[in-house]
Homo-oligomer: 331 residues x 2
Amino acid sequence: MIDYLIEKIKKTGAPIVVGLDPTMKFVPEHIKKAAFAEKGETLEGAAEAIWLFNKEIIDKTYDLIPAVKPQIAMYEQFGIAGLIAFKKTIDYCKEKGLVVIGDIKRGDIGSTSEAYAAAHLGKVQIGNNYYAGFDEDFATVNPYLGSDGVQPFINVCKAEKKGIFVLVKTSNPSSGELQDRLMKSGTTAGAEQGNNGTGNISFADRPLYEIVGEQVAAWGEQLMGKYGYSSVGAVVGATYPEQGAVLRKLMPKTFILVPGYGAQGGTGKDLVYFFDDNRLGAIVNSSRGIIAAYQNEKYKKFGADNFADASRQAVIDMITDIDQAFISVGK
Amino acid sequence: MIDYLIEKIKKTGAPIVVGLDPTMKFVPEHIKKAAFAEKGETLEGAAEAIWLFNKEIIDKTYDLIPAVKPQIAMYEQFGIAGLIAFKKTIDYCKEKGLVVIGDIKRGDIGSTSEAYAAAHLGKVQIGNNYYAGFDEDFATVNPYLGSDGVQPFINVCKAEKKGIFVLVKTSNPSSGELQDRLMKSGTTAGAEQGNNGTGNISFADRPLYEIVGEQVAAWGEQLMGKYGYSSVGAVVGATYPEQGAVLRKLMPKTFILVPGYGAQGGTGKDLVYFFDDNRLGAIVNSSRGIIAAYQNEKYKKFGADNFADASRQAVIDMITDIDQAFISVGK
């Protein structure tokens, strides 16, 4: 699946992904009005509103971008109706040829991760039939439970030609509380036990995110694609460019999903060190900055009626920003 | 919410929770046949089968136990239909007076955790109305993103009188890969920044799970109940009794949800040190060991037709096992 994503990035010249994370605050009044008129001020009405909102943004941007990243929490908050809108969004994006990264951040003990992997990337067997529950192309995965919480996702990726991005260094302000903690040199207790079975590995003091980064790189060897990158990727926030540069070197075959551009504070020049010399190796997400562009001073001229045109312009500007950042460092 | 759970535990004399984690392998043939006859060998058919399976187990055990813990992954794998069965299970358990712990292990950046918290413990505003998406009583939360991924859950708990259990030391074999890593003494980089704003805390070398345990205890101060325990609890696996004993002392006001009893290997005598001298402070989960008891040699005499009677007997035996373990150490 990473090969297909890379081909889409090359074709569009846009190493970006649009985060489809709708909240009711972002949805223009005329869309809410139409949705509520049909389904009432209910969970179903809200779900209809975010679906109509998404659809218009997808229609106005799909030709410019390789991928979208719907954040399932934004749908899950509207219960079953919201998750139906999540599924409709996935299916519609795939119809439009977009790669769909389900931002689900699941991760659990082995048997439970198996169920999550089946839900989002694979299929379940029912009698003699097989069904896909949500069927994204990629999913984000939380590594806190270790290898046996991640491997079931990798197994499904192998079978279904899908991919994952494992959280390494997240974009939020408090990500350092655990992820930046220095791990003592030579730590061996339980280390790698699920990974290579040997147990003992020695290393110098270094932060937890580096340990996780190396694990991700090791897991990735199982799913290498033809362009030198693995379908087991990593999440590293745009808001931590120095750590991004370190991780880029530590995980040379790991594709990096980079959240935190735009509204969270990351800019094009923060991002160039996440990429290799061929402008590959990373894909940058923007959510609010694109989908709620019409609420931003810069794009106000479009107005709420043309909110999706504002999103299209924001995509074009983001591609230009990253392009200029590449040029400025000679990439 | 922790007060209500404690009262239910005292009333039943059973510090246990039944994990409603159905898979198709556990569902007896006669139930599958009935469900498939009505809805076909489809996602809807599978969801109907697990709902019928759950309902019978709930009907046969609800008077003995304080709480249930449905694992959402087991429902999510059946897509929308599965999540409808999850919601039906929650509602039915609450009708029966059971405390419902949604085992969802969510956790994300602040704005996203807000959405998850609203989805599972709180309400969303739509127009002038407020709706609850799933409405569990407790949810499990992943701490990898730090304070700003956890605090939104705590805020909703305050408003809605709900609770959470934060993953500290999980029950799976590879939990040590990250959680047991020794953190270097005196580490300060980014530490506690989202927690108390001071940044610098010094400490001796110790494993990550202790750091997380202390954070959980600190977060818990915001939600203390009248019996000396907080509505911010912790997850610590029965499979790691030594760590459980350490954590019990480190987090004296933290209620501990203990998975891993039974099928995962934990026994009654492993568990006594998770509890205080009043037999409180912890609640032990068993999933497969209860819901699939009829498939176990010990309960085979019940037969598939009476699978829920086997579950009832397994609950009674589990209560006895823990009770005897208490007696053996004079608790």
